[in-house]
């Protein structure tokens, strides 16, 4: 079985990360509360606006009447983190990002609860909106994370999402 990197369960490492006064906040998280870290993360004087996207588990009823109770998230952790750090690099090739957060939950996320947080601080709001949108759209298209729908009867179905493309080293971001 694969071991998971320290960021997933090491609360001390998480606390150090969230208290850092500089640098981006990029992590896979499997404990709560985690989105509470965000207010500590703000406060860079170069930013004129911060756009935050929070993805949550939406309630759903299956065609056969089963109710969704949660989404179970699984990651290829080392690759997901390196891809997320690369997104932080690529977004800056397009927009002036002062600081960003990319946090994704692994494990069970109940209906109504947050699964992913993308936040971008930039000098002006137009850049923040666009960069934040690009980050979540690209994360969903490329990062090796999968979700399984967990139904009230205990059954589960893996969601088939996007097939990522192999990008060469010279490809545009």
């Amino acid at each position: 079985m694969q071991t998971r990197p320290a960021q997933l369960t090491d609360r001390d490492a998480w606390l150090r990360l969230r208290r850092a006064r500089h640098g981006d906040l990029v992590a896979l998280i499997d404990f709560s509360p985690w989105e509470d870290a965000l207010p500590e993360f703000w406060g860079d004087p170069a930013a004129g606006g911060i756009d935050v996207f929070i993805g949550t588990t939406r309630a759903e009823t299956h065609a056969d009447g089963r109710e969704l109770v949660a989404l179970d998230y699984e990651a290829y952790p080392e690759m997901a983190l390196s891809q997320m750090r690369d997104l932080a690099r690529r977004v800056r090739e397009r927009w002036p990002v002062v600081r960003l957060a990319l946090l994704h939950r692994v494990g069970r996320v109940a209906v109504g609860q947050p699964s992913v947080v993308v936040a971008v601080a930039s000098p002006h709001r137009a850049e923040a909106f666009e960069a934040c949108r690009w980050l979540i759209d690209t994360l969903k298209a490329e990062v090796p994370i999968w979700k399984k729908e967990v139904w009230a009867d205990g059954s589960g179905t893996w969601v088939e999402g996007a097939v990522p493309e192999a990008r060469g080293a010279g490809d545009a971001g």
Binding site: M1, Q2, G55, Y73, E74, A75, Y76, E78, M79, A80, S82, H104, S115, V116, I136, L139, K140, A141, E142, V143, P144, I145, W146, K147, K148, W158, V159, E160, G161, A162, V163, P164, E165, A166, R167
Partner: protein, 81 residues
């Protein structure tokens, strides 16, 4: 040469294992490693409508060549966020 193939999500569920160790000829491709896994676990065929491949934690093409101790991953369609 020895390589590891990691399985995730629906593939891991169907195979019942998270990792497969393979001994392949020198110069074998990622596609060959994937085929060896699918041969060992026939239930995986059709488990995902389309697979992507990763070699040492970066997406690759199926014709990428392997070397000793490489880490391959079979990536079902991703659904983060």
């Amino acid at each position: 040469m020895k390589v590891r193939v990691l399985l995730f999500a629906v593939l891991r569920d169907r195979a019942g294992v998270a990792e497969v160790s393979l001994d392949l000829p020198e110069g074998a491709t990622v596609a060959a490693a994937a085929e060896a896994v699918l041969h060992r676990f026939p239930d995986l065929r059709g488990a995902a409508r389309s697979l992507a491949y990763a070699l040492n934690r970066a997406y690759c093409r199926p014709d990428a060549r392997l070397k000793e101790a490489d880490e391959v991953a079979l990536i079902p369609p991703v659904s983060g966020g």
